[in-house]
Structures are given as C-alpha cells and as structure tokens.
C-alpha cells in the first residue's frame, strides 16, 4: 500500500498547486467554466436541431441519442478536468528540453507527465454533465442497476480514451513539435462523439479496433441499454490492456530517442 499512498500524496500536491494557480487568475477561472459550458451546449444543440427534422437515427430515437451525448459529455468533462492539459504540456516539455526535470524525479515519469495538471474550474462544472445524464436517463426509464453502472462506465470510457491518447502521444518523442498530434487527438475525440453505427463498415472496424475511440462511448452505452451486449465492453478492456503494453514499449524507445534540447 505505501506505493499507492505515496502517489496519492503526490497527486494531492498537484491538485493543491493547480487550485492555487487557477484561483489566482480569477477571470480565467470564470471564463474556463463559460467556455466548457458553451462547448457542451453546442454539442447538444447540434443533435437537437437534427432531431427537429428526424425521428430516429439508426436504432436510436432522440432520447437515446441525447443520452449517448450526455454520456460522452460526462467522459469529456472528466477528461478535460484531469487529463487534457497534460498533453499540451508534454509536447512543450519535449521541445524545450524541460522533460529533463521530470525524468530526474524519483517517481514514475509517465505518471508525472500525464497527470500533473488538472483544471479545478472545469471540475466545478461537473453538475452539468451528470445532471444531463440523470435527465436523459430518467426519460429512458433506467432501472436502479443501470444507474449504478453509469459512474464506473463513464470512468471506463475515460480510461480507454486516455490510454489511446497517451499511446498516440508517444509519437511526440520523434516529432518534437507536436501541435499536429494534439490536433489529431482532438479530432479523434470528435470522432468518438458519434455512436459507432453511424459510420461506414471500414470506419467502424478501424476506429473500433485499430484506434478504438469509437468504443469510448458506444460500448458502455450499449451495455447500459442492453446488458446482454457485452462484446463491446470486452473489446474495450482488451484493447485498453494492449494499449498499456504498447505505451510501456514506446515510452522506453521514446526516451532513447529523446535529445533533451540544450538549456
């Protein structure tokens, strides 16, 4: 247990520092909340406008579709709060050689690199996605066990998304300037915001297996709506494990390629 405890303590300090930093820029703090809210609303608005002209898309009606959107927003909310800042910082650190400082610390460098920064302002907005999830869930008439499944499934979706993104970010070691990779990451997120059945056959296979971002939302939501449909979830777990193995491999290769730009 001391290992976990040690990392928990380190993480607490990260959170403390991030809170102190976030609160010292007041306007920025408020604007972040407004920005996220606008983003969520634009996502919902797009789907809502579409359904003013359609009754159903594939197997899902308006309620099911918006429930899916709410699920994705809940995943992205946690993603933005706890992970997303780190990817930008990582590319910056590689380019400027600041990664040196992290490599010197006596703690797992992968942990520091991808979990050191979080966004307290975004955390405050958590009520919104979970409220949405509750609202559309109740419209679908979810049962008690379905409600109980929601939080762990959101976390699972987040875990998969983060794992895939970390694996992709390993390429930053070789690319050095990685704004492009970060944009690619964001485009993959955008891709995952639509249910898998909307895509054509090859796109479904590719983004369900090779770069499995379609599993982030579709697999858990299918499972909630129909607990016999476990195949997606099993794929999710398997591919996530695989991505961890690959990340470990490429991390070591990447460090060998890291040049540590001069001071």
């Amino acid at each position: 247990m001391p290992l976990l405890r040690r990392y928990a303590l380190i993480y607490r300090e990260y959170v403390n520092n991030c809170v102190a930093e976030a609160l010292s820029y007041r306007l920025h703090f408020v604007l972040l909340i407004v920005m996220d809210l606008l983003f969520y609303l634009s996502l919902l608005g797009g789907v809502d406008f579409l359904f003013q002209h359609l009754d159903q898309i594939g197997p899902w009606n308006r309620q099911a579709f918006l429930f899916f959107m709410a699920f994705m927003i809940a995943v992205e909310h946690l993603h933005m709060t706890f992970v997303s800042e780190n990817f930008w910082a990582f590319s910056h650190d590689i380019r400027t050689g600041k990664l040196d400082f992290i490599l010197l610390k006596p703690a797992a460098a992968l942990f520091i690199v991808f979990f050191r920064a979080m966004r307290p302002a975004t955390l405050l907005l958590g009520l919104f996605p979970w409220g949405l999830l509750g609202w559309y869930g109740s419209q679908l008439g979810l049962l008690w066990w379905q409600w109980l499944l929601l939080p762990p499934l959101v976390l699972l979706g987040l875990a998969l998304l983060t794992s895939v993104e970390i694996l992709i970010s390993m390429s930053m070691f070789w690319l050095v300037e990685s704004m492009g990779i970060n944009f690619l990451r964001m485009q993959l997120q955008q891709l995952s915001r639509w249910p898998d059945f909307i895509y054509g056959y090859f796109a479904q296979k590719f983004f369900g297996l090779a770069v499995p971002v379609l599993l982030v939302g579709s697999a858990p939501v299918r499972f909630v709506l129909n607990p016999h449909d476990t195949s997606g979830l099993l794929w999710l777990l398997g591919l996530m494990g695989l991505s961890w193995l690959l990340t470990a491999f490429f991390w070591r290769r990447g460090l060998r390629a890291y040049e540590s730009a001069s001071s």
């Binding site: 102190a20 609160l23 010292s24 007041r26 380019r95 400027t96 040049e259 001069s262 001071s263």
Partner: protein, 327 residues
C-alpha cells in the same frame, strides 16, 4: 547618449496567504501594494562610455534597462536616450540600439541561426554586401562558422550566446545593452565573450551599458560603475575609484608551513578570511600599513608563500553590500 532625471518606476503586486484556503480567499478579495523598483534615478552616459550597472538581485537594474530600451514606460521622471523618448519606440531609435539578454533568446528556436540573421538583415535594412561583410567578420571573430546551419535548439548555451551576440550586432548599434551576457557560461566561454565585446567596442566606439553578476565581466568591460541598491543610485564613478571606496587597500594571500595562531592580534584589523586548517589566510591591508604588516607576518610566522594584488572587485562589492554606510 542617456540622460535620466528623477526616473522612477512602480510595480503593482498582490499578496496571497499561503496554502489552499489562502488561494480561495484571494479569489474573492485581493490586497495590492505598490512596489517601487526604481526611485528618483539620475544618470548621464556619454558617447563611447562603457558603464557597468551593479547591484544585487532585485535592485532595479533590469527595470532600468527595460526603461532605457523603451520596453517599459517610466512611472515618472525624464528620460532621453539617443535624443529619443525610449517608450515612444520610434523607428530611428530602434535602429540604433540593441539588447542582449543572457537569459532569453531572440533567435528562432526551431530553425538554424542563419535564417534568423537573414530576417534581422531585412528588419534592420542592411545592404546585402554590408550584411555579408559584417556577418563574416562576426562569425570568424567568434569562430562559429560551422554552426550557422545548425538548429538553434541543438546548440550549447555558449554557442547560442555567441549567436545572440551576432544577432544583436549585425546592425551595428550605437548603444548596446548587455543584460547578464555571460550568465551560465563556463570560464573559457565567458572570457571569449568578454574579449569579443571589448574588441568590438574598441573598433566601433559603441556605447555599452552592462549588468552582470560576474565581477570579472565588469572588471574587463567597464571603465565606469553605477551601483544600484533598492532602486536608488548609491555610487557613480570610475572603476578605480570604486575599488578605493574601501580605502586604498591591497589584497594579500599568505600560506604557511604549519598551522598558525588565527587569534593573533596581527590579523584582526585586516578582515582575515581563514582556510579551516589555519594554513592559509586572505587579508585586506591598507596601503599605509602594508610594509610593516608584511614584515611582521614574515618575522612571526612560518610563511611558505606570499602574494599581493589590488583588491578584486568582487571583494569590494561583497564588502560594500555588508557595509552600505561607506557609500
């Protein structure tokens, strides 16, 4: 070149109590205060002078530099540099100055330095032939020809600093500001940079204003020293008179064959700095009593070696910061 009268600059700072709750509280209410960085500063610098701006961290040196180059606006007072008001940042003014920053880079990080030089050639409207001539001269003086095509982020600190110098000198500024130009460099590189700047200055009669924490820089490059403490000018004069601020003293280093009595009355008036084992001592001795003191030391102690030089400027500075009442 530079006329400053009663120049002042205040910065606004806000205070936060430490810890999590301190952060939360400061979110709602903030306490600000004005921190004066430079207070009623007068300065005259003439053409071709080499002036060192000295002072501890936070004394206001960089703030002064920033005001002289027009990067920040003074809170009050008069300032004219090269006949211009710097913060108006007229084109003519910018064409005639340059600022070298030891801690910052103006070169483009991701491409070779040569590309940045070509850009600067355009910005400063330098003729192609003039540009080539100056560049070749600078490159051979600093011995960096093979590095021109290397990406800046792959250069060592010393190499990059040389490139920064080239970038600042291509347009032959009349007024050169050097903000800690040798910071972080090894001794050889420091000396090279110093020699280069000196040579350049002699050749073109450039006016140089330098800040540095390395007294060797100041010693080698400056003929005049301006001491800044807490935003105020505390000394302004030639480097020799700066050295004799503490009286006319010599710096003496003595080592002995065996440990000696460090408590002896001979040492006390001369600010002794002992090596722990009592085998070596460094002293500051007034020239008036130099002969008799030296003779006493030779007579009473087993002297192995004895060396004497004028007081290094580092010791002067160190001493002055402890006894500011001398000023």
């Amino acid at each position: 070149m530079i006329h400053a009268t009663a120049l002042s600059k205040n910065f606004r700072v806000y205070h936060k109590a430490p810890g999590f709750w301190g952060s939360v509280r400061s979110f709602w209410q903030r306490q600000y205060s004005d921190k004066p960085a430079v207070k009623a500063f007068d300065l005259e610098i003439g053409k071709g002078e080499r002036v060192g701006l000295l002072g501890p961290n936070g004394a206001g040196k960089t703030t002064l530099m920033k005001m002289f180059t027009g990067i920040i606006v003074p809170s009050s007072g008069q300032l004219s540099v090269l006949g211009h008001q710097p913060h108006a940042r007229s084109r003519d003014f910018r064409l005639r100055i340059a600022l070298v920053m030891g801690q910052k880079s103006q070169l483009w990080w991701d491409i070779p330095a040569m590309d940045s030089f070509v850009l600067l050639q355009r910005y400063y409207e330098i003729e192609e032939s003039t540009f080539r001539r100056r560049l070749n001269a600078l490159v051979s003086l600093l011995d960096v020809a093979p590095l021109l095509q290397v990406h800046v982020r792959k250069l060592s600190l010393g190499e990059r600093m040389k490139m920064e110098l080239i970038a600042c000198l291509l347009h032959q500024p009349e007024l050169l500001f050097l903000d800690e130009p040798t910071i972080g460099l090894d001794l050889v590189a420091q000396r090279k940079i110093r020699e280069f700047i000196l040579e350049w200055q002699r050749e073109y009669g450039t006016t140089v204003l330098l800040t540095s924490h390395y007294m060797a820089d100041v010693d080698a490059l400056c003929e005049r020293i301006v001491l800044v403490l807490n935003g105020q000018k505390r000394f302004d004069g030639g480097i020799r008179s700066f050295e004799s601020l503490l009286g006319r003293q010599k710096y003496v280093s003595v080592s002995f064959e065996q440990p000696v009595d460090t408590q002896s009355a001979v040492w006390q008036p001369h600010d002794p700095q002992w090596q722990a084992d009592g085998l070596q001592v460094e002293l500051r001795i007034d020239e008036a009593v130099l002969r008799e003191t030296a003779m006493a030391i030779f007579r009473d102690f087993p002297v192995q070696s004895f060396s004497m030089e004028k007081l290094p400027i580092e010791r002067v500075m160190h001493q002055l910061l402890q006894e500011t009442e001398v000023l």
